[in-house]
């Protein structure tokens, strides 16, 4: 898995609109050559962004599915992405943040992105807060939490449409453009922030791998085995949603990676969280890097948003797993 990831990393940085041989890539990495700038500031940033975001989405999906005991659970099921999309739409349309312009093949570009990022993050946090309130103070069951997530998605979806209805053409285009997940939006700063939240998340998740394994046997057995399930659910949901919120706010919506990565690992090596957690992260990183490579090369020189590729490839993969393995 790690070897595959390293391979796709090097393929990703070697291929692009400027073609480089393997020797030129190594040269540019080790010394200051004509390709060094492109490599360090565009391709490696992008590839690392892909690895970190994919890993964050993969591990968050695995934890959500475990904690909510629902194979369809992913950070998106809880309405996080719709909350973020609403936040971004609010910033673009109501606050006029992020000026948008149209340039030839790139439909719309958003300048001064940070207010949009901050509001997208706040939108995602609102979803998390509502979900955590339901689960913590109202004692909602995992099933109710998933249903609440579906309801929240619908609510934020319609609120976004309401805003778009009164927006001008550019604002609508900018809002829609924001939702296209694109790893290219990440720079070194964004990658650092994603890395720090991911590190906090995966450390907590890995330290609780035995607790997640016990959860499978039901709440009563988990309690009897010494697991404080309320705290475990609360912190796990908060951290996984937080990790994903940070990614979505910077990069836009990237579907299916969080949902499908844990399913592929479960299909290949089983349910044990000692392996499921780290391998879902690796699988997520690999899938997103691969998808980004496809997005950049399939219609070259046009670079597609990676979210389109993940959703396109993710759905048939999910069907395949569904047919091969009846029980999730």
């Amino acid at each position: 898995m790690i070897l595959l990831l390293i391979a796709i990393f090097f393929i990703s940085i070697a291929f692009g609109s400027i073609k480089m041989s393997l020797e030129e890539v190594i040269n540019a990495l080790l010394r200051n050559s004509e390709y060094s700038y492109v490599l360090w500031n565009i391709r490696i940033t992008r590839a690392i962004g892909g690895i970190l975001t994919g890993a964050a989405l993969g591990v968050s999906g695995a934890v959500m599915q475990k904690v909510l005991k629902n194979p369809l659970a992913s950070p998106f099921t809880l309405g996080v992405s719709h909350g973020a999309a609403f936040g971004a739409a609010f910033a673009i349309i109501v606050l006029g943040a992020g000026k948008s312009h149209s340039f030839g093949s790139e439909a719309v570009t958003i300048f001064n992105n940070y207010p949009v990022v901050i509001f997208a993050f706040l939108g995602a946090l609102t979803s998390i807060a509502i979900i955590l309130f339901l689960s913590c103070f109202k004692g909602a069951s995992p099933e109710s939490i998933v249903l609440a997530g579906v309801a929240l998605s619908s609510l934020f979806g319609s609120a976004t449409m309401f805003l778009q209805y009164f927006a001008d053409d550019f604002q609508v285009a900018a809002t829609v453009f924001w939702t296209f997940g694109d790893i290219g939006k990440a720079g070194w700063l964004e990658n650092k922030i994603i890395f720090i939240t991911f590190l906090v998340g995966i450390t907590y998740f890995y330290l609780n791998r035995w607790n997640f394994n016990v959860l499978f046997w039901g709440d009563e057995i988990a309690k009897s085995l010494g697991v404080n399930i309320k705290i475990l659910r609360l912190i796990s949901m908060f951290l996984s949603a937080l990790v994903v919120s940070v990614c979505i706010s910077f990069l836009g919506i990237i579907g299916f990676v969080g949902l499908i990565s844990p399913h592929i690992i479960r299909f290949l090596i089983g349910d044990d969280c000692r392996f499921l957690i780290p391998y879902s992260a690796l699988m997520g990183a690999f899938l997103l890097c691969l998808s980004d490579f496809i997005a950049r090369t399939i219609l070259s020189p046009v670079v597609l948003p990676v979210g389109i590729i993940t959703s396109f490839a993710g759905a048939p993969m999910f069907f395949y797993l569904l047919i091969k393995r009846r029980r999730f």
Partner: protein, 251 residues
Amino acid sequence: MLEISNICAGYGNKLSIKNISLHFNKGNVYAILGPNGSGKSTLLKTIDKIIKPKEGVVYINKEDVQNLSRKKLAKNIAYLPQKNSTSASSTVFETILLGRKPYIIFEPRQEDLKLVENIIYIFGLKYFSFRNVGELSGGELQKVLIARALAQQPKILLLDEPINHLDPKNQIEILKVLKKITSELGIITIIVLHDLNLAFKFADYFIFMKQGKIYAKGDLSSIEDKIIKEVYDIRVKILNVGRSKLLVIDE
């Protein structure tokens, strides 16, 4: 060692058990008997802090269980609920190893693995060790779950109808093992049973519950036809067979 003092507990506003006070001693098997809905499961859940009592206190070594952390409690009490999820896809070995969860700091130690191997041997599960629990029959799974509870090395073992899915041979085997472990390790085993004859054969003390209250309690000598008739609303005769008793339906 385990003492329950004036416990009232239930779900929502409804009390399932009312003013229950009991005392349990080490090395004995206690059978909780009574019709469906008499509060047997609620009593076990209250002892293991799964349900918080509305009134009263559960003491382990004179310490209120509400003041014990989940982890500390798990080193004292193992609980096997009546209904168990079968959606897990772990092997028999991994499932029993989960019983060591309260003791695992980062990864299981060699002695944890050894203990699990030992329990697997005692329960005759050697040939199932690496089989997925999803592929086991109801009875085999139940054996694995009891083994998992014992892997916790508890001082108090709470089992809610643990032999329901087992055939008579396995029922007797399991109860024999439980009785032996209880007296050898000096633990307290509290077991909810519906088969009164098996209870008479293997338990040391009997607690009869009816409508959330203790109707009668005592050792084998204290059991009379009248208690069974009042608790279960059936006519029976209790015969003395050797050192045990046998219940027959009296129609």
